[in-house]
Amino acid sequence: MNKTLRTFLRRPAGIVGLTLLGLVCLVAVLAPLLYPASPWDIAGMPFARPGEDGMVFGSDTLGRDIAAGVVHGARVSLIIGVTSTIAALAIGVTLGAVAGFAGGMTDRVIVRITEIFQTIPNFVLAILLVAILTPTLSTIIFSIGLVSWPPLARLTRSQVQSVAQREFVQAARCQGQSAASVLVRHVLPNAISPIIVTGSLTVAAAILIEAALSFMGLGDPNHMSWGYMIGAGRTVIRQAWWMSVFPGLAILLTVVAINLVGEALNDALNPRISRS
């Protein structure tokens, strides 16, 4: 592990990514201190330009502080990104592991299901799910999780398949350990690193899906989110560019940070594939 950490930290991408991500997390955690009032509060005059009326990023059509929205929006993005990835991992890794380990009919059925899910454009499915379930934090997380698992399942399956061939797994099986225990104790731990890497990238993708949903008016109306802010700013972009520019930069920054960390993780965890 130490060596992995050292490899990770030797990559400039990793350092930059980690720093940026740390910054975003810090802002998210400190949001209530930085802007104690609700980001929905009417803080000043409407259409204030950045810097005017004491609002660094300006205000929106009602006079709400954009900066407060950006800061509080970090929480929503991160929470949704991480939890929906956990949901996707739960579905994807389970199905993938079972398919890869059991093989045969089970494998064929699961592969089929995965393929069908990959055929339906995932963002469209997410729109439909959220619209039907009505948008709240939990339904959004559920929907993003449900459309994000197929790549994880495919990856897990191929990893498990290749690890399952190895001698120590065969040996464990011969010793009469149950299939489940072999899978959990011997196979998964050895197949996990690429899954972690892909998982970290899934967080970034989930943040982007959430932003797009909110942009289209399918966000949770009780939580200020970046996508919502951009959506609200869209119609007035001629009059108030700042309403969409700053939240967009926030998304960009966060997603870049996560991608950088993911890449560095990849290099550290899978030295075989990494190139210098």
């Binding site: 609700s38 009505t134 009059q239």
Partner: protein, 532 residues
């Protein structure tokens, strides 16, 4: 930044975008000449059909109103004017209405228009397919033709606003020879509308435009004054602004132009703005608590909510001036409005005092209670209204959780009374008996049906007042009862009236006599013409 600077900003940032793309005014002139007396208007959304009898959505009413007509039209003060009826008399007892019809009107297919068409429409077809017409004509004991050009409506009991029932989208007269004995909704004639109006359907390219052409056989000499009307479907708000700006479109109505963009366009040299022509509709917007639930059943709570809200905020920041604060259930442009009622100025302290008095104590976070608010899913204005409601309530320690839904879920939830608070806006149709009473009388508490007394308000006295006022024939007697009803309602606050909505009609200022009635853009445009 003050208001003036703000509109300057709008002007500066807004106008630059499109000028270069389309060559602002040069093209505009070329385009209008293209029509030679024609008008290009915006329509949004595209109507599913044009038969007003079968569908009363706004776009259907706008285009259908040029094709179909009813017996009357209405002045800005809502007094009746001739249309398919050239004159009318009302008996002393208020029970018999006799209409003399124009005798030279023809349907678009050439068949003469007669009293039989009116009887068929009002007594048979509309009662079957048109909920609002059904309510009006069910009051009739009989509807009969006397000869080809006289129709007599006999009422079971007097109904004062009966003359307001003959507006085109309330009672469109349909051709008997095409509809009698058919399955109305699936009649092939629905795709090729045949009316008596000054314009005929010429072409409909779905997703693009609907073209109407002048009806050469129209029964008024020299009308219509326009040769054709092009209705362009423009789904995007920003594109609609651009179209008006460049002259690609010459008329926009209702909410076509985003509220914050209206003034900028109105200031352009080739456009005029009017907010007249919506008197018949005069929508009033309110926040609606579900009175079946606690704490909304306590009038003190409703008063506290009202005191936390400021209609001026909504007028200025959400409607950008296209509204005015409402004082009560009846809009100031509707008949029998009375300003002499209890009014409420925003007063957070007083609101908190009321809530304290109710025993709703604040917890450590300053929160007294959590309520849910169902967000109306019809666009940004409604979202902003919900967001404002939440912020305003928080000043009184009332935490509001917003629930969002889609139009299907919204209608379902509200009509089945499964909400705490929501927002609503209803047309008044010119008379309290037509568009106001329905929201407050207990007989109109009907589960599963939208636009009824969904909040569940019950007050026997109010019921009586509305019932009596509807059947009184003297204006004074009606006014007396409506004034009393308005006073009671404003004291009891069954809903929290916020604003009287105004709509902006923007039009090319070379066109005259375009908006001449209380139904404005929904009227038939027979008199509209270019100024020579």
């Amino acid at each position: 930044m003050n208001r003036r600077e703000f509109s300057k900003l709008l002007l500066a940032t807004g106008t630059t975008g499109v000028a270069a793309q389309t060559g602002l005014f040069g093209d505009m002139v070329a385009y209008a000449q293209n029509g030679e007396g024609g008008l290009t208007a915006i329509i949004q959304p595209e109507p599913p059909l044009l038969v007003v009898a079968l569908n009363q959505q706004i776009p259907v009413g706008i285009i259908g109103g040029k094709l179909y007509e009813s017996l009357l039209s209405y002045d800005f003060d809502l007094s009746p004017r001739p249309q398919l009826a050239k004159s009318w008399t009302v008996s002393e007892d208020g029970l018999t209405y006799t209409f003399e019809l124009v005798d030279n009107a023809k349907w678009h297919d050439g068949t003469p228009f007669t009293a039989a068409d009116v009887v068929f429409s009002c007594d048979v077809m509309l009662k079957e397919v048109h909920p609002r017409a059904r309510a009006n004509f069910d009051r009739c004991e009989s509807i009969t033709a006397e000869g080809d050009h006289t129709v007599v409506f006999k009422l079971k009991e007097p109904f004062a606003p009966f003359l307001l029932a003959f507006e085109t989208s309330s009672a469109p007269i349909m051709p008997k020879h095409l509809y009698e004995g058919t399955d109305y909704r699936n009649n092939p004639a629905n795709d090729t509308p045949v009316g008596t109006g000054p314009f005929k359907l010429a072409e409909w390219v779905r997703g693009s435009h609907i073209r109407l052409e002048a009806n050469a056989d129209y029964y008024h000499e020299g009308e219509p004054g326009l040769t054709e009307i092009f209705y362009r479907v423009v789904p995007d708000g920003a594109s609609r602004s651009v179209a008006m700006e460049t002259g690609e479109a010459q008329l926009s109505q209702f909410s076509d132009i985003e509220t914050f963009d209206v003034q900028r366009l109105a200031d352009m040299p080739h456009l005029d703005l009017t907010t007249k022509g919506y008197e018949f509709f005069s929508p009033v917007l309110w926040y609606e608590p579900n009175l079946r639930r606690e704490p909304f059943n306590d009038v003190r709570f409703r008063k506290a909510m009202r005191l936390l809200l400021d209609p001026n905020f909504i007028v200025e920041r959400i409607m950008f001036g296209l509204a005015q604060p409402a004082t009560g259930p009846i809009a100031s442009t509707t008949k029998f409005y009375d300003a002499n009622v209890t009014t409420y100025e925003q007063d957070v302290e007083k609101a908190n005092a009321l809530l304290d008095e109710m025993g709703l104590a604040k917890d450590a976070d300053g929160k007294r209670i959590t309520i849910h608010h169902l967000v109306v899913p019809f666009g940004e204005m409604w979202t902003r209204l919900a967001e404002y409601f939440r912020q305003a309530m928080s000043a009184g320690g009332i935490e509001v959780v917003l629930d969002s839904t889609d139009p299907g879920g919204f209608a379902e939830t509200v009509s089945n009374w499964d909400y705490d608070t929501t927002c609503n806006m209803l047309y008044q149709f010119g008379d309290p008996a037509l568009g106001v009473a329905r929201s407050y009388i207990s007989s109109n508490i009907r589960k599963g049906v939208m636009f009824t007394n969904t909040q569940g308000y019950e007050n026997a006295e109010v019921d009586t007042l509305f019932a009596e006022a509807a059947v009184q024939t003297s204006e004074e007697a009606r006014q007396e009862r409506y004034s009393k009803a308005q006073q009671i309602l404003c004291d009891e606050l069954p809903v929290l009236w916020m604003t009287e909505q105004k709509f902006a009609t923007l039009y090319d200022n070379r066109i005259a006599d375009l908006i001449v009635t209380a139904t404005g853009v929904n009227a038939n445009f027979a008199k509209a013409h270019y100024v020579k």
